[in-house]
Each structure stands twice: as structure tokens, then as C-alpha cells.
Symmetry: D2
Subunit: 474 residues, 4 copies
Amino acid sequence: MCGIVGIRDAGGVSFPIFYALYALQHRGQESAGLTTFDGTTLNTHKGQGLVAEVFNTDLLHGLKGSVGIGHVRYPTTGANRPENIQPFTFRFRDHLVSIAHNGNLVNTSALRAAFEQDGQIFCTSTDTEIIAKVVIGELCRSGSVEDAVNLAMRALRGSYSVILLIDGDLYAFRDPLGIKPLCLGKTPGGYIVASESVAVDALGGTDLRDVRPGELLKITADEVISLQIAVANRCAHCIFEYIYFARADAVMDGALVYDVRVRIGEMLHQEEPIEVDCVCPVPDSGTAYAIGFSRSAGIPFIESLMKNRYMGRTFIMPTQRQRESAVRIKLNPIRDHIKGRSIALIDDSIVRGTTSRRIVEMIRGAGAKEVHLRIGSPPIIAPCYLGVDLPTRDELIASSRCKEEVAKCITATTLHHITLRSLVAAIGIEEGGLCTGCLTGCYPIRIPDEVADQRTVDFVGATFQTSLGFYEES
Amino acid sequence: MCGIVGIRDAGGVSFPIFYALYALQHRGQESAGLTTFDGTTLNTHKGQGLVAEVFNTDLLHGLKGSVGIGHVRYPTTGANRPENIQPFTFRFRDHLVSIAHNGNLVNTSALRAAFEQDGQIFCTSTDTEIIAKVVIGELCRSGSVEDAVNLAMRALRGSYSVILLIDGDLYAFRDPLGIKPLCLGKTPGGYIVASESVAVDALGGTDLRDVRPGELLKITADEVISLQIAVANRCAHCIFEYIYFARADAVMDGALVYDVRVRIGEMLHQEEPIEVDCVCPVPDSGTAYAIGFSRSAGIPFIESLMKNRYMGRTFIMPTQRQRESAVRIKLNPIRDHIKGRSIALIDDSIVRGTTSRRIVEMIRGAGAKEVHLRIGSPPIIAPCYLGVDLPTRDELIASSRCKEEVAKCITATTLHHITLRSLVAAIGIEEGGLCTGCLTGCYPIRIPDEVADQRTVDFVGATFQTSLGFYEES
Amino acid sequence: MCGIVGIRDAGGVSFPIFYALYALQHRGQESAGLTTFDGTTLNTHKGQGLVAEVFNTDLLHGLKGSVGIGHVRYPTTGANRPENIQPFTFRFRDHLVSIAHNGNLVNTSALRAAFEQDGQIFCTSTDTEIIAKVVIGELCRSGSVEDAVNLAMRALRGSYSVILLIDGDLYAFRDPLGIKPLCLGKTPGGYIVASESVAVDALGGTDLRDVRPGELLKITADEVISLQIAVANRCAHCIFEYIYFARADAVMDGALVYDVRVRIGEMLHQEEPIEVDCVCPVPDSGTAYAIGFSRSAGIPFIESLMKNRYMGRTFIMPTQRQRESAVRIKLNPIRDHIKGRSIALIDDSIVRGTTSRRIVEMIRGAGAKEVHLRIGSPPIIAPCYLGVDLPTRDELIASSRCKEEVAKCITATTLHHITLRSLVAAIGIEEGGLCTGCLTGCYPIRIPDEVADQRTVDFVGATFQTSLGFYEES
Amino acid sequence: MCGIVGIRDAGGVSFPIFYALYALQHRGQESAGLTTFDGTTLNTHKGQGLVAEVFNTDLLHGLKGSVGIGHVRYPTTGANRPENIQPFTFRFRDHLVSIAHNGNLVNTSALRAAFEQDGQIFCTSTDTEIIAKVVIGELCRSGSVEDAVNLAMRALRGSYSVILLIDGDLYAFRDPLGIKPLCLGKTPGGYIVASESVAVDALGGTDLRDVRPGELLKITADEVISLQIAVANRCAHCIFEYIYFARADAVMDGALVYDVRVRIGEMLHQEEPIEVDCVCPVPDSGTAYAIGFSRSAGIPFIESLMKNRYMGRTFIMPTQRQRESAVRIKLNPIRDHIKGRSIALIDDSIVRGTTSRRIVEMIRGAGAKEVHLRIGSPPIIAPCYLGVDLPTRDELIASSRCKEEVAKCITATTLHHITLRSLVAAIGIEEGGLCTGCLTGCYPIRIPDEVADQRTVDFVGATFQTSLGFYEES
């Protein structure tokens, strides 16, 4: 739940990276940072807050260079400390390395212990520093980035999309299961790698393709060199990217997220048809789903909740109290569209249920006859250990309640979740190619005991092969 | 193009005013301010920026009192100087007066000259100080707020919705033609007057009614006392509030703005039916129009431009350069929804044409076969002298070009504007009750020569009667 | 207790005014402001804090113009509100007036009431706005600055050194008794008026002379035109400027303040000789006094209190609590210079006695055998109504205690204050030319009952004559 | 040229550390930081600017704990990057280490290379991280802080006074030659180690003694445990601490710095008596010297340059341009004390000569007949590699000029520097106990070729013995 970007452009990269981070702002609003290489040294500026708050024109003019990387962060690991704001810069021999990472490791403890065995010490509490140590350690030994990433892919368990700047060389790689997204684009002046294709669009570029799971890219001024470091027997793309994280206008693995959501909306209706007066989205995340539902049902789409455009997303706020007050201020029910009507209310997901209950109550308070809640994802029943900031199992409303109980809790007349089968069909990737951990409790990577919630963690592990041999989790 | 609010609530007003200003943020993003009366004195905090930037919890806790007023500002008169941030506070005898104003006067020069004749001097360059001087001057003479507002309504030419705090007494009045909006609501703990009903909603209150043109309200702890100071022969509600300014979820003169816009969208299709593949709004202002168009035409509604949720509205940005770059970053065309299709693109208005051209080009660049632009307002051909921040006549693309020329300029396949007749019908108020100056060049108030663009200014003046006698412009 | 400056210099004035305010920083640290006239309009920047905090290079480059004024403020009247930061700018007819003022009026209430009788209202709670209203009001009537200042000198009771910018014309005047200082200098590129000659020095200029009591200066590009508006039968220069406020390197009425203080120190010894091991100043204000004492006594001068150079002056801190903690952090006793010694400790004044007691205790705590306190001013027994921020009578330790009681309170072995006679001799102005209100309770201006502390206020009033006739207080 | 502090106090340490840093502010004004241990974790706040700018009451209240360390920084190594602000915090195993360091290493490259050989990477460009890596590396191996410091003292070449917080344990150690100062004090509530005794004074504590060269202290709640890790054949206390850095009220190795400077002043006169009208210091650093000179010569001490109290020290400003403008604004010549007189002007040192020339010119410009410059240090002819921020040899005015040439450059009538012999006598330590590198070009530690200016570097190396054996540089 971070956004990363790396750009090479002879015309300068600080402004392009700034705009790309703007396009990725939805992936993290706690902090932003940017590093460029000016031919001699790395220049970094980073700070807490939104991209537009952290940077200004003067600062961007000062960050010279034709290659650089950027990061927007929402803390999944490591407290919200200034020292944890990425990109991180490390020095070794006469080299400078800057790194930006999206994802979450599950074997942090073991790796950390191994390094400490060697007398290494840590400057931050992040997974990113561990990734840097693994990569740079091997880089020192072998001098080869390929070898270093090869080793990293064997050592690191979890999700990681990584962009590296080694002096002036730009690299990007993605974990063997391709859990977190990473895409490659061509811009008018060079190349870009970024978490989502919307960053490519922001620069007027062309989305070339997703970086492949297990692939290492070296991006030079003239070309993109690909090395397939690891080959796995399956993929495990994060299903929550399709449901909530990714911007609707992002293209992931060739599929437009907006259209995936429209299809889910259509199936939501088909799975459980209903007679209502109108179809209303919970803005903004429910809009595409509601359009699909309306289209399939032939029932008018109309907005009944107006969102204040001067606020952020609720989901991403750090404390429960902030989340609660944000709902009240940010959404205004349109009484004339609600009063006396039965409404199909469409949203993307239910996490704790508090926001959903508040919204349903708000619509009931505005005089709705019936509120039929339709959700574009199956019930979320398990935590995520691989980079999505979901709460613990006990806080997940669906982890211990059946559909009827949840409906009652949130005061909905009826409740229906899309089935996993339909969801997978809408995405267009076979279920085996997705990580559905939060929906099934079954993860593509073994979650170590000290990390996992003990009750129902299961896994269908992946295997993969690198030039160093075959790897299988057991 | 400002937002104002006044609240009386025994439980404290700083937080309610803050939330109300949040709901009115779309009416002005340059500065925000808040004044409360704590039983002894007025406490004010104000600053440049968004409501959420200017205030914080500590500041709000410090602004004690059961009555207060607030303001969000976009500069129509007076440069963007700190001293021009409202509310303004004035002292006279042992009294303190705080004032918040939305609107624009056209006889500023004459009034200013008259005061200067008397040796008065001015602390700011705003109309608001002139209104304060008129009101307080008479208040000093007669001791009566009623008399003071009576005199003010005879002296002031232009639009003015005003909220006054005189020590602990809360008053509100609206110009005799009711140009700028002002509504009255009941909250759980008291009463609120505000520019739009959405501020009432934000507090969980009930929208009672619009303040009447020429009406003065005194809001006490227990009741709202109404005095009809002036009675005019017509109203002149700003038509641009319905088209663009007001939030879609606002209710004005009993009509939900959203539904007005849906009806306009329906009529847009009926006036000039067209065969296209899909109906796409320019977000966010075009959405309701597009829903109406889609519904009337039976053509699918789909988003083809995705808006970055972390930016403000373009219209409201102060410089041309800022407006230009903002368009590029903030809107991303969804190629999969556009490529090879003919599209009905729906927006609320065309001002300079630069934004429209950029958007049409963007959609063409994403591969659209045809782009048929449909606009929810008639061509804007004349400046506004009454509070809408429109550019000069020369900058208005439609002031000197026919429909075909404008379509060509902005590279649209076809262009259609709603007719004034349909627009008025959609609003549901007779044309004589609206100010249509920007659409017709004919204003409800005579625009003095030194203010007016000389070419085509015309007016159908209003007359009104107060206890001081009959008033007619000539 | 403010600092003011006005500069005319064809080469631009923003940087010179900035440097001049820097030199006057000791006169006010709460806020700073600067207004320039660029040929068309006035440009102002002001803010809370030190000069170096309020301004930066970019801001100064933006304040164009060859004439301007500046102000540093410590609040004597008016709460510490942003709206009270000077210079103030007013508009009348097509003119802009900016004003900076040092002093305090005693007939504010009466003047305010008179204006309010006329229906005038006030934007701030400051004397400065009243002065502006008096001046501008008459300026409007007569069109003559001379007449306006003439009227002002008859209307205003109190201390006022004023610098006015009327569009591009620079004026300065000083009250008929010359209570607060104001001097005129020639700079390489033009002229300067400022509270102290140190501002002239800061620009590499030449101190020409003090502005005369009752004099009005008009400063053009080529010359300084003097008009003697009022002629009084006496002067009343603030004696506390010599004792504490003015920088030691300032020249006032031809006398170097440093040398005045050295002479006071010499007389302090001569009035009451004493045998001690060393003479120690309370830094920094006691240094010149201590040098004089040491020289006259032939006893070594040595520092025994080291001041932390990164803090401000205690006297000027707004709250008692801030004053207390500041003493502890800012002064460090040098044990090796104190232990076992009898010390003559020299300071400029005792106000509440809390700081003095703390310092004496500190020196005793470091092992001094005896601490003989010598003070460069007579006991302060009465409040100041004319611009010095002294506390109320009850808080003045000497207002109700004899010398022995004060010595006991502050734990000094002995205490001696300079006599008024010696002090006046050291200054070199006859006593009748000084305001000694705080030392005698006898003021040069009648203090109105509603302002005065009732117990011992007395006055030896001045009379003066202007072209409008003779004025005598009764 | 940094200031460090470590405090243990059951009553909380954040405020005491804050006050101690305030007292050490003269040692570094670029940034400040503070880390406390609250029983569970380390809490750090740090930022760029003065202590009073970086911290506020709320922040200090939030930094809980009965043990902590602090740092003020002026960059000698490492650019002025936020990531270089100390204290640094590192993690290893389950431990947290925070470190604050004053000094400069000369074998950084070799140590860095050795770590990189091991695959270690660096987060900052500072010596401090290298010290941390050395210490923590050995701590991991042996688990013993004593062994870790033992190893560090053998590995590190250069000056280092270090304070360590290992979880809740507080340690301090000083390099075997004792180059940079470090002292131990008892406070009312516990113990303190700090760069100078003035920090002890600031807390109302008692200066116990200097930490011994090569000594390691462990400071528990009840006692201070001393371990003499290394014993050298000589000391090398930085002579510039006595001349300029240390506050005059600091006690170093039992000597009050103020008195050392007074003695130097006396000797300055005795070495080269002169007839002048008065003795004037360059404030503030020349004051104690001038008092000594005046006393020995029987010539009156008087200030002729008045310093603006609202500015920092010139010496410490980072750029030449800032240094130049600062001189003009900050020092005002007192014409009445200068005109027609011959003056002995006393300062502590001459570095580049630019400030001295400007001051002498200023005094000449004010009409001095003669300006005889007397300097409390011998000519500075060589760079410092051990922590004093002196410029390169080419920029040192005395590195290539004889006394007469320097006098001419800076336009002094005559110039005299104290001789090294007198200086050493005034300090009261034998020359062999001081580092006089900048005065002689002969350093106590061999300066590696890649660091040293090649021309005249010489050294009289020290040897020392630790439990690991005998160490001798060759």
C-alpha cells in the first residue's frame, strides 16, 4: 500500500516523478520522497504529507538529474517516523544506492537475525532496509546486480516490488509471485516503471506491459533490458488491488480496473436480482460497480450520497476516531433521492463494518424505505500479511459472522457479497493466479508462526526456480 | 463566490462553524475565517488556505462562545491580501461588530467617495468594509439594526448576502433581489444561516427555507425573528449557482440542484438528439447532467475521464498557467472507454474555452471517433458584475463567436448548448426571477459606466419598496 | 517601546528598512512590518516574530520602491493580534496612507468617542488607528499635511513619534514634548528617520540631528523640509530611554547613551563609595554603568555572570512565568570570580524586583561573601502611561518599600540607587526637559482619571503654542 | 565543533537535556536532537535550526524517560542533510542504540572500506555511523560494552567524545588523547555528561571533573562506574577550545576559560607593551582578553564596537557571503569612543583575515588615529583535521604571510599575536598535553595522506596501551 516510481529521461526527472507520484497519491498519503542522480551524487527530498505539500517548484528545480525514483507511503511496517520515509539512500564503497519498495515481507525476523549474527546494524525499522542489505551485500560480493537480485528472490519471503537506483543505473524487480503491481511505460523522453499505469498516463506516456513476476529490468537511456530471474509455478496478484486499491483507470495485466468493477457490478445483480427504485454507489469506490449493477438490472443509476471533494479517503485514515468523524463530514445524503425509496447501495468492500453501518444508517435517516447493500468483494475474513493494511481478524466484521448477522449489524435490509468465483471471472485471471488470502485465509506464501494469527492460516505454497536452483516452501 | 455561515448554539459554535465551512469549501479556497462571541469579546481566527489548513482542534477549542460567524473566500474584489480575509471585526463605542459577506457591489466608488467626503478612511479594499460602514454608521445614529439595514438596502447596489454579529446578536440579510443565496436551518442545538443548505446538512440539521430577498433575520437563542425590509418587483437569483457553483446536493428555493441538472441533461438530449456509443461526463461538474442525458437518450452512461481526487477544481484557480497545468495532471482519459467510440461529452459550461479544448483534445488523443460536446448552460457572452468570477468579455470564447466557431476552436465534432428557455424550465423559476446577465448581457441592476464593459450592457432594472419609500433605478 | 523607521532612497528601500529594523530590534520583538511605495501602490509585508523571521531575501526583493516605512512592535496598547501589526495602511479617495507609530496616547477614550459620534468605526484596538483618523480626517478637509499635523498635535495627548507615507510622500513628526525619540540621518542614497541613531549607523549613514519636539519633516528625494508645528514651554524626553531602552551606542540629543551610563556609574560610586573585591555588571544592560563605577572606584571590572548569547532580553518577555525561567537559563554565575569575594553588582534598574532577587541569590549561591547592588536609576515608584511597558504600581517593588526593605527583599547586602539629581546631571539635560513620571509620579501630561492609578498621580503640565493658538492643560 | 550531552535523572530528562543543549548552543547551530529511553523504546526528536526552534514544550513533554542524550551540530563531516542530524538511532537484535558524537576521524576511508569488505552499507555520510558500527559490531560479538569500546579505541583514529544510550544504559567515552572536551557533573536528580561544564551549571548541578582521555563511564541511577580503557603517553586537548570555542564560563581541566583568556590578555600586553588611549575588545570573544590587557597595561577598558544582540556568531556561518554581510549588520562602531584615539583592539584569533580587516576598517572609518590589533592566539597556519571547522591552508591568511604582511592586509597599525609559549603558560598545561596542530602544523595523530594537505603536515604521534596491547602510530 505504497506507490513507487522510477524514471529515466534525459530532459530531467524531478518534475515527471512529481507528477507520477501525484497520480499514485491514492496509494499513500503519509509521506512522499524523491531521489535523483545528477551525474555525481544522489539528491533526495522527502517529507511527511501529501505530494503537493512536500514539494514545491523551487525544490523540484533543485533536484537535477536524468534518472531518479520516488515513493509515496502509507505505513504497513515501521511506525510513522521521519527516518522511515522512502526512498532510502545507502552508501557502500564509492557507490550510492537509493531504493523504493512496495510490499511486505513475512520473514523479516529471520533475515534481521541473520544480519545481526554478522554484526550488522539497522538504521530503520522497515522491510526496505532489509531488502537493501540483502541486495547490496551480494552486490559487494559478486559485483553483479543480477546475482544480487537472484539471491534476494531466494532470501525474501513476501511481497516486494522494488525500484533501485545504483549511482546512475535504474533497476526494477518484482517478487516471483507478482503480488504487488509494477508496470513499465514509455514516455516521450524515456522510460518509467511505476506501481500503476496511471503514472505513465500522467506523463503522456504509453503503458507497455506489467513487469513480470520474478523479472529484473535494467532501464538505460536507450533500452529496457529484461532478465527473468525467477520462474514460479503460479502468480499471486493481490486481489484487493482490483477491488479497492488501484485507481479505476489503471490497467493491470491488460485489464482495465474500471471494467473489472463494472463486470463485478453486473454479476452482483445477476447473482441475486432485486427490485429497487434506484442503484446508488458509495462514492467514489462504488461508482463503477453501481454502473454495472444498474446496467445489468435496468434500474436507474443515481447518486444519493454526495462526497465532499475536499477530503481524503476514509479507509486510509490511521485511527478509528479519525475514521468515524470523517464519515459524517464527508458524505451528505441527498434526501430527495432517498426518501420513500428502496435503494440498492453498492460498495466495494466491508472491513470493520463501522463505515458501512454509518452509511446505511445515514441513508435510513434520510427516509429510505429499504437499503439493499451489494458488495463488490466476498467477505473479508482474514488478515493480510503481504502489504494490505487490513486490521486483525477480530476487527474484521465478517471473520466471525454470517451474512445475516453482518446485515443486521450494519442495519441493511439485505446484504449480498459477490462470490469469489464471479469475482475471479470478472478479473479474468484464474483463481490460482491471484492472492486471495484476505478472502479465504489461504495464502500463497507460508506465514511464519510468529507473524500469523494462529486460528485459520493455511497456504497453498508456490514454488519457483532461479539459476541458483529450485525453491519450494514447506 | 464566497461562502458564509452564522450559527447560534448554546453548546458552542466553533466546531459547528468549522464543519459548515468545510461543507462550503467549494465556494472559496483562498482563505477561511471564524469569529465567535464569548459573552465579553469577539474571538477571531483566520488565515490563507483551505478550512482544514487554517484551523486545527486546539484553535477551535480556544474559540469559545454560543454564537459566531464564518467565511470562506475567493477574491472577487480586493487583491488577495491577508487584511482582506473575512470575517472583519470593527469597533464602535463599546460595541464589536463582525461581518461576513458574499456578493459584489457595483456602486462602490460612489459610496466610498461619500464616506471620504465625511473624512472616513478605509482599512481594506473590500466591498465588505463599505457595507459595514453603511450599517454601523446608521446603527450609531438610530441605534436600530432594522433602520441600519433599511438604509443599507437603499444605499447598496449589487449582490450581498450578509451575516452580522453585533456583540452577541446574530443577524442575516439578503439583497432585495436575492442575487446570492442564503438559507436558514434548524440544528439540534439552535439555528444556522448559510450560503447553501449543505452546511445545514453537515450539522445534521433541517433546512427550513431560503432567506427571502430583502429580508432581515435576527436569530436569538429561542427563535428567528423576520423583518421584511425591502419588497422588490422581481427576484434575480444568480443562474450560475444552479449551473456550477452550488453543490449538487444543495436545495435552493425548494429545488434540489442535482435534479435541476439531471433535467437540464434530459433536455439537452431532447433539444438535439444524437447517436453516440456512450455518454461521458466531465467530472465532477458534468455528472448529473450526463446522467440526465443518458437517461433521456437511453445511451449508456460511463466515465471516460478519471479525476485525481487529490486536487481542487480548475475553474477556481487564479492564473491561466495554473489552470493549464492543472487540467493535464488532474484528468486522465480512460483509453478503453474512448478508443474507436463516438462520445457525448457533457459539461456544465464553457468560459474561456481553454479547458474544454484541452479536454476534447485529450479524448481525441485517446482515440475517440467523435466527440459531441453538450453544455448545460447557454453560451456565456458577458461578464458578471455581481459576484461570479468570470473573465472579461474578450476572454469569453462565446462573446464573439457563433456555435460553429466555438466548436471548431475546441475541436469538438459537434457542440450544443442548452437553450435559455429550457434552462429556465429546468430550474422551475420564471426567467424574470433569475439573473441571467452572463448569458444575455442584460442585468437586473444598472451597471455604472465606470464598472461596465461598454459594448452591450443592458438592464431590466428592478424596483423595490422599503419603509423609507419606493426605489427605482433609472 | 516600538521602533519605527522611514527611508527615502532612489536605489530601493526594502533592504535598508530591513537592516534599520534589525538595528532597532531591541525596541520590539513581537512583530515586524514594512511598507514600500512603488510609484503606484503600497506594498506591505508584516508578521509576528523577529525581523529575521518575518522577512527573507525573496520577500524583500518583492517590496519595490524608493520610499517606505517600517515598524517593530512590542504591545503597549492593543492585544497581540495580527491585525495590530504595523505599519497600518488606510485608503481615502484615491490615496493610500501607511503609518508607523511609537508612543502611547492617554486620551484615547475621548478621541474614540468623538469619532464614534461621527459614525466612524475602528478596525483595530490601537492608538495608531486613532492618530491616522485624526490626521487623515483633517487631510481630507484641508488637503494640507501641515494643517493635519497641526490639528493632530492639538488633539492627541500623550507620546507619539510618527512616520507617515502618503502615497509616495514621506513625513515624520514628534509630539510637542518630544517624549519618544526620533532622529534624522543622511544615508549614501537619501534620508532616513528612525527611533534611534543606530538605524542610521546600520546603513552607513550620518546622524544629522534629533527631530525636534513639535516638528514636522517632509522628506523628499533632494531635501528635508522642516516645519515647526508646535512650540512647547518644555521638553519631556523619556528618561527611561537613557537608562534602559536605547542601545548604548545610540546618540540622543547629542549625547552618546553609553557615556551617559558610564557617567552614572561613576556617580554611583561617588555618591556612596564602597570597598569591594570587584565590580561586576548584570549583562548586558549593566556593563557601561559598571565600567564607570570601576573606573571611578579603581576597583577591577570583571564579569561574574555569563549571558547565553542565544536568548532575548528578560525585561521584554510578556508573562511572569517566561521571565522567571528565562533568568535561570540565560545567566550563568562564574563561580571562580564570585566565591569568597565581596562584589559590587551593577544593574540599570529594578522593576518588580524578581529578576534582581534571583540574580543576587544566584551570586550568593555561587559563594559571594557580600553582594552590594548598585542601580543606575532612582527607584521606580509609579507606572508609565506614555509608552514604557512598566507594570502597575502594586507590582513595582519600590512603590511601597524603602531602600532597606527592597534590599532585604532581594537579599542584597547593601543597595544604592543613583539620585535623580545625579542622573539628570549625567544625562546633561535639565530635569525640566525630561519625563520622570516613573521616578516621581509627576507627569508632563495630565493623565485622565480613567487611565490613571488614583493614588499619587501628579503633573507639571506643559503648554505649547501652534498656529491654531495656545494650548495649556488644566 | 558539536555539543553533546547525556543525562540520567529519575525525574525525567527531556527538559534537562533541552536546557543543557541551550547552554551548548554556541557549539553548533545547524541542528539539534534529543533521544530518550522510556523503559521500552527510544523516542527521538530532531530538526534543523536552533534548540529553541527545534523543540517546544509539547514536544518535550512527549519525550518520556529517565535517561537520554542530546546533540547540537555544526557540520564538520557530512553535508548538511537531515539524515545527518544526531543523535542517530540504530537497531540490532532486540536492542536500540542511540549515539551522539563530537569530533572528527581521520581514518574514515580505511574503516569504511573494511566494513564494506564485510558487505556492510551506510545510511549516512558521517563519522558517527562508523563509530556506531565499530562499537555495535563488537558488542554483538562479545556482548560487552567494555570490549566494544576497547576495540573502538584501537580502531578509531581522530578525536571523539561519544555518548551512547544502549536501551536504557548510558555510557560515555573520550578518545585516548582527550582531544575534544567531555565533563561529568552531578545534578540534583542524577548525573550528566556534557561537552562543557556550562551544561552542568544550566541544571544547577556540580561539575565533578573532566572525563579522562581513554576513559569509559557507565552512568547508572546511583553511581558512575569508571573504566580506564586506554592509557596514552600524552594528552592532546584542543587548544582552540581555550581560545575560541568553549564558553568563557566553562571550566576545563580545572581551569576557568575566562581566566585563561584574561591571563593571555595580560601576557599580550607584557610581550609587547604599547601606548594607546584605550583598550577595546572585539565583542564578545575578545572581552576577557581585553580585560586582561587593560589590567596589565593600566589603560582604560572601553567598548568601541557594539554588537547587535539579535544575531549569531560570525565565525560559525557557513558561506563567505553570509559572513561578510553579517559583520556589517552586527557590529556598530561607537564613534565617540574611537574618533581621534589610538586604540588597542583585542580579538581571539585571525582565520581568513576578512572579518578582522572589515573590523579594523570600520574602526578607522569611525576616525581612529591608530588601530593596534592584539590577538589572543598565535598565527593559525595549518588546517585542523580533528574537528575544528577551519578552512584550508590557502584560505588561512597567516599560512603564507609574515606578521607585517598580515598587518598590512588587515590595515592594522601594528599587529601582535600571543606567542605559543605564553599561550601554553596561560592555559597551565604543558605544551605536550595540547593539540597545537593549527598553530604548528604538527599533529598528535598521523594524518593519512589522502586527508592531509601535503605541504607541511608533521606529527609527534602519541602511543597508548589498552588491555588488547600497546598501540603506536608509525
